[in-house]
Symmetry: C2
Amino acid sequence: MGTTQLETVPEPKYWHLRTVLSEALDSEFSVGEILPNERDLAARFGVARATLRQALEQLELEGRLQRRRGVGTTVAPPRVGVAVGTEQHAWPGAEGDAWEPADCATAAPPAAVAGMLETRKDEQVHTVRRSLVTNGQPVAAELLYVPLSSVPASAAADAASGAARAHAVLQGLRHLDLEGQDRAVELGSARAEDAKELDRLPGAPVLVVTTRFFARGRTAAVSVATYRADTCRLTFADSGGVEIHHDAS
Amino acid sequence: MGTTQLETVPEPKYWHLRTVLSEALDSEFSVGEILPNERDLAARFGVARATLRQALEQLELEGRLQRRRGVGTTVAPPRVGVAVGTEQHAWPGAEGDAWEPADCATAAPPAAVAGMLETRKDEQVHTVRRSLVTNGQPVAAELLYVPLSSVPASAAADAASGAARAHAVLQGLRHLDLEGQDRAVELGSARAEDAKELDRLPGAPVLVVTTRFFARGRTAAVSVATYRADTCRLTFADSGGVEIHHDAS
């Protein structure tokens, strides 16, 4: 990367620098390569450190760069496609479900979840914690909220460990006929507990997928899944039956 | 909001402050209300301005706060649900499509799009620009890439204006049988042109939805749509035929 003075341009300086840096990443750097330090980069492009940092933050947001403490800034590999909308209607924990149940507690859900489940204020629900790992990398953390009335009363009562209780609740769900589901995707920031599981700092940008599962004409369970926004792209297959390709393009 | 000194906590200070602020927003502020200025807020919570700003950025990322130049920081209304996955298989521009065609150019697409379309390097495609406005607010900006071979040769040739060319290309697409489509959602930052259309600064976080439309056993068009991440949640209906509710919960 040679010395490049930025000309005066109408767009914000950090944005122009981001474009210049992005092109340099394409042409001069390879995946995993460590970028020069901030002082050197700022000097080469003739910009203030603050401007450089803004441009690096942009490229991190776009998944082009990764910043890790103790390592520095590296060129990120292409994002991994994670299939979210599956064509088969299936309860969480059904055959082929890649999510790993880790724990289960019984507690009052957040107000927004209680609203979707139409549970009473402070009414406790099963809260199953699951995680999704791909190629050894943590990809997503999920909280699955299941009203006590959705599963047989005995389901989680006599399980020895949290993981066993989680399995029992998931199995209990399968007694219900799944009538449908819908999803919403939005930007969020990782809560402390999720951040730890995802190997990120609290507040890191995440994609939050909220899924409602319908049975007996009501919402029988709600899943709130938090995907790493830096490394993941969420893929949705349509009912057209076309295969999903997980290539990086 | 009274004076609240933050105790020493194991989690990052900005994260704890974010939680305290979030609770204050729930209990003491209403939508649209302007927050006290940064200096006053920092003093009240006994934190440095930098810590306060980090916490405010978190809450902005989560859609709880809006920061607008000349206005200050206000409490954001709940995000608006925007339906992305529709149940009917339909080409862009089909009956009931809320997107407004604005312009059409013929140009070589970005490399990633060319890869999906399997067009040759530097091969030109129709590029239709459309926008989605809900309740008078710009919600999303789209570039729809259509290879010249996907539509009749005459489609866009004799149209007088960009908007008329866009309509002609969309109409041309409907000659093809749509065999299916798939989608990917990922975090991105608004390019300068999109940012202007969305009333944001370049680099603002956006949700990028890439849709591939299949016909004749190949990818006949690719849509890259950029949704405001601060004000939108994307909703996906499942083929179960359950109605989508756009409530804010």
